[in-house]
Amino acid sequence: MHEVANEHMLENILANNEELANHNRGHLDELNAWTVNIMSAPGAGKTRLLEATLLALGNNVSQPAVASSHRPGQVDTRPAGEGLKPTERSVYRITVIEGDMVGELDKQRLSKTGVPVLQISTGRSCHLDAQMIARLLHAEKLERPDIIFIENVGNLVCPAEFPLGEHKRIVLLSVTEGDDKPIKYPVIFRNCDAVILTKTDLLPYVDFKIAAAKFNIEALNAGAKIFTVSSMTGEGMTEWLAWLKDQLSHYRQQFKGAAQHSNFDLNSANRHVKNLNSGMETYTISAHQRDA
């Protein structure tokens, strides 16, 4: 004879991932590292946009003009560094976390800029999850980055379900994909802070209406900022870079003087980090000092 016990409950199935994402967020905040999760379909131009962004903003860029993206089986006919010239004095220390199922092609491309690139190979998994980021944050000593860009695995479905602890989520949509994609992949476009329409230099050759894409994004996520960018020609980069800087300064303002507030115990935070990773050094710096 079996008795049956029924228990009603409410438990988030992905609570594990969310807890780890919060844990990661704590680490990132301790490092004062504003973190952006970049998501899109494969080939929408995440790496290319990052190359251009790193060159414009990274103060640890060693080679201003890179001849990039020469990949096996492909001939790169572009003039070296076209569209990738630094646009201004570079001020931010940047780290990239590169998520790919297999290989280090993107890491090789981005490493040419001189910016540190940490690779996560997901194997058969179609997305990054919070645990992968947690392992990396515990294992690697990050060089006090101002900004961390996480390039997610190319996929418009799965990454939407797995927050990583990032501060902002960006989705790229290239004009070759079609202006209907936001309503075909509503979840990811609903849950992001900004959308970048990329490869706009190809607009004369494809049937893509910027207005239609914007209309579709707005239906799902009226608060999302929308940019139109060509990383090749540099068109639209100024607005995107301005937004990044603006968001970064918003982020830093939250932390200005935060250490003086009574509910933040710096010593226990440091102990916490040391317990998790004895190899990781902790720094105490205010955003104000770092700007100088």
Partner: protein, 129 residues
């Protein structure tokens, strides 16, 4: 195929519940709610769950019950409540406005677990062996 990850998480919750109930011997069913605005394909999830459950202690006969929760949106422009769907490009039927708040449709929760409890006689029998 993140449905496999989700199936695994559900089974982990089932195993936890079983451990918390010393009188229980197995999990007979687990009920979940899946919102329409989540990227979860229920057939895929069911398939993954049925294939994975054999390797979870006490879950070999566990049945996964799923309930799809329809999305309900408050229009950003006219504040009307509507069902955002693909046919209307997710826009409000009344005023063609956009989604403001999603009142429902983003659920991904375990809402009930049914445990099979070993009766006293069986328990004593099991102990005596």
């Amino acid at each position: 195929m993140h449905e496999a990850t989700i199936a695994q998480s559900i089974l982990n919750i089932a195993v936890d519940k079983l451990k918390q109930a010393p009188q229980a011997g197995s999990v007979s069913s687990i009920k979940i709610q899946v919102g329409e605005f989540r990227n979860v394909e229920i057939d895929c999830l069911q398939f993954a769950f049925d294939n994975l459950k054999i390797s979870f202690e006490g879950c070999q006969n566990c049945q996964l019950k799923t309930e799809l929760i329809l999305a309900s949106a408050r229009c950003r422009d006219c504040a009307d409540t509507y069902h955002p769907d693909f046919e209307e490009a997710f826009r409000c039927r009344k005023c063609n406005g956009s989604i403001g708040k999603l009142m429902s449709g983003e659920e991904l929760d375990v809402v009930a677990v049914t445990l099979e409890t070993i009766s006293k006689e069986q328990n004593n029998y099991a102990r005596s062996r």
